[in-house]
Subunit: 191 residues, 4 copies
Amino acid sequence: MPKLGMEPIRRAALVEATIAEIGAAGSLDVTVGQIARRAGMSTALAHHYFGGKDQIFLAAMRQILRDFGREVVAGLHAARNPRARAEALIAASFAPSCFAPATVSAWMMLYAQATTHPETHRLLHLYQRRLRTNLTHALRPLSADPRGHAETLGALIDGLYLRAALSPDDTVAQARATAQHALDTLIGPRQ
Amino acid sequence: MPKLGMEPIRRAALVEATIAEIGAAGSLDVTVGQIARRAGMSTALAHHYFGGKDQIFLAAMRQILRDFGREVVAGLHAARNPRARAEALIAASFAPSCFAPATVSAWMMLYAQATTHPETHRLLHLYQRRLRTNLTHALRPLSADPRGHAETLGALIDGLYLRAALSPDDTVAQARATAQHALDTLIGPRQ
Amino acid sequence: MPKLGMEPIRRAALVEATIAEIGAAGSLDVTVGQIARRAGMSTALAHHYFGGKDQIFLAAMRQILRDFGREVVAGLHAARNPRARAEALIAASFAPSCFAPATVSAWMMLYAQATTHPETHRLLHLYQRRLRTNLTHALRPLSADPRGHAETLGALIDGLYLRAALSPDDTVAQARATAQHALDTLIGPRQ
Amino acid sequence: MPKLGMEPIRRAALVEATIAEIGAAGSLDVTVGQIARRAGMSTALAHHYFGGKDQIFLAAMRQILRDFGREVVAGLHAARNPRARAEALIAASFAPSCFAPATVSAWMMLYAQATTHPETHRLLHLYQRRLRTNLTHALRPLSADPRGHAETLGALIDGLYLRAALSPDDTVAQARATAQHALDTLIGPRQ
DNA sequence: AATGAATGAGTTTTCATTCAT
DNA sequence: GATGAATGAAAACTCATTCAT
């Protein structure tokens, strides 16, 4: 029973299925067949709507980054002062959603593919630049060297995320605390 | 005329070829055929010596980590005091050898596969623990919270490496400077 | 707002698109999708009007032959005597329209498919018989063996067309001259 | 039970199977799977030895042309004078082997693909040039215009072959007679 | 009249792996 | 010790065709 306007629905379903499938497999070795099956359609349709596997994957990555971006924006919105903004950025980076297996795998995929796939690299770069900008902006009124501190904090967050994401036990809270602590060290503790 | 005692030679050749091939491809999509050809032997022999692709890859990763470990040991050996030891650890992490394309790709592979492959995960964990131990040890005489600072510095190094490795332009020196600066902030600048 | 009497328009558009697409691709590997897109409609409609790909192709071939037939008829019409009629047949066979890439490709398709597709074979046979009849008719007052000479001349024209069509450089004029010369040899030169 | 030196055997088997399969299908729509099955091996092996479908087809075409070339050489070898050489060329072009279904289909494939595939075009061109050279050579002592007559005769042979090949009933003998007759007309009948 | 939606069946191609020699 | 031979299994992708709307 074909309906009209299925394209956005199908695309969304495929993206969601891709993320889910990556999460379930815990790996990047996911076939279009698996994705399509999970999304409840034929591989042919998946190809029809996306043109190829690469573009399905790319769309999934964009979705991951978009979700993360939303998390960040929401956090920043709720923050009432610079320090709160900086803390919100840390919080967003260690939000539970970032540690869903699918998200972790997708994130690893981003890093792994960035060396080869130019488009992936561009995407990753975009995210890093945005985070740096946000951090710099938040630190400007608080720090003598907002740029440098943003750079440091950003890299620290990435490193902590990497470690927490790969740890079997939940060290997310600890990672977040470490980041928070580093922030305190850089700009002085909260009064 | 097959020679005796070829096993270690063949294994070493395969491991080297694996790393080189990964570097050349700039990706993890490397076939056993490519590796074997580069190592100058048949795929059958590659399987004979390693049992399977996974184990070839694992051996390559071990080699990468071993190489890095050697770099670390050499640096630590030359260091004459705790601070020098901490700085040597930073220096080793940003040594040129760590940024050879093959090494970068292999490193990314490590992260990407660690979520799935338990053995890979174990390897990565080992490295991280060793680095943490080394750092903690170096910081003990210098820091009020050697453990915490080691954790922070370790994660920061990972994050900076990730970013520097993926940047097209050479930001290695800057990354290293940032790590060094963070060390100064944590334990106070050199007198 | 669908209009009435669209059928002939749509069919013509599809046939034209088929020939154009074959010409553009320079090959027989043309999909219904490509044809329909070029004709400005959906593949479903193409199927609706023709029933299947084979029939679209067949219609295109009929069109090619019809076009050629028209060229022949026009030439014969303008000819005022038997010799002129024979020459008109040669001229029609080497008319520029016969060497349009689309036409050449379609013609090759005819030959290639004639071995398999009985319907295609029938079409090709029809054309060949008609050309032979026309030639025989024109040669009757000029030749001692109109049938035999028509057979020879017809085959020669086909062979020359094949060679000229596949030559990258324009050898059409030369091919035509050769055919003309053969005619002269067979029935004696013009007085 | 794998043996050594299989490559030439396998390649030959594949080429033969390709020609046979094209003949059986009476069409160019032959899959690698069909070819491999007929040759008694897996598709993977077919790819292994030839690299791809195109190259299998190309090899088959080369074989067809080589076979024809051998037929020609044998005929020329047996001929004791120029006229016999010219007749041998005609005879070779209408030899039974040229009308085996597989050969006809392959020949059609050559023509159909020549417009697109440069390599195929090159091959076809080669054959045409060689035939022209042979004919010119044979006609030199017999004809006032050996080049022109060779051109004419060559095209005539192609055209007659095309028609005979596509005729269901056996008109090969007649086609050959027509070519022979044309030769007589061009250079005068045998004394 | 027209189409977006959807798919089944098929194609080429790749690759890790096994085995007899 | 070493390899050419061989394959099964699976992957991405294509396309003619159908159908409900």
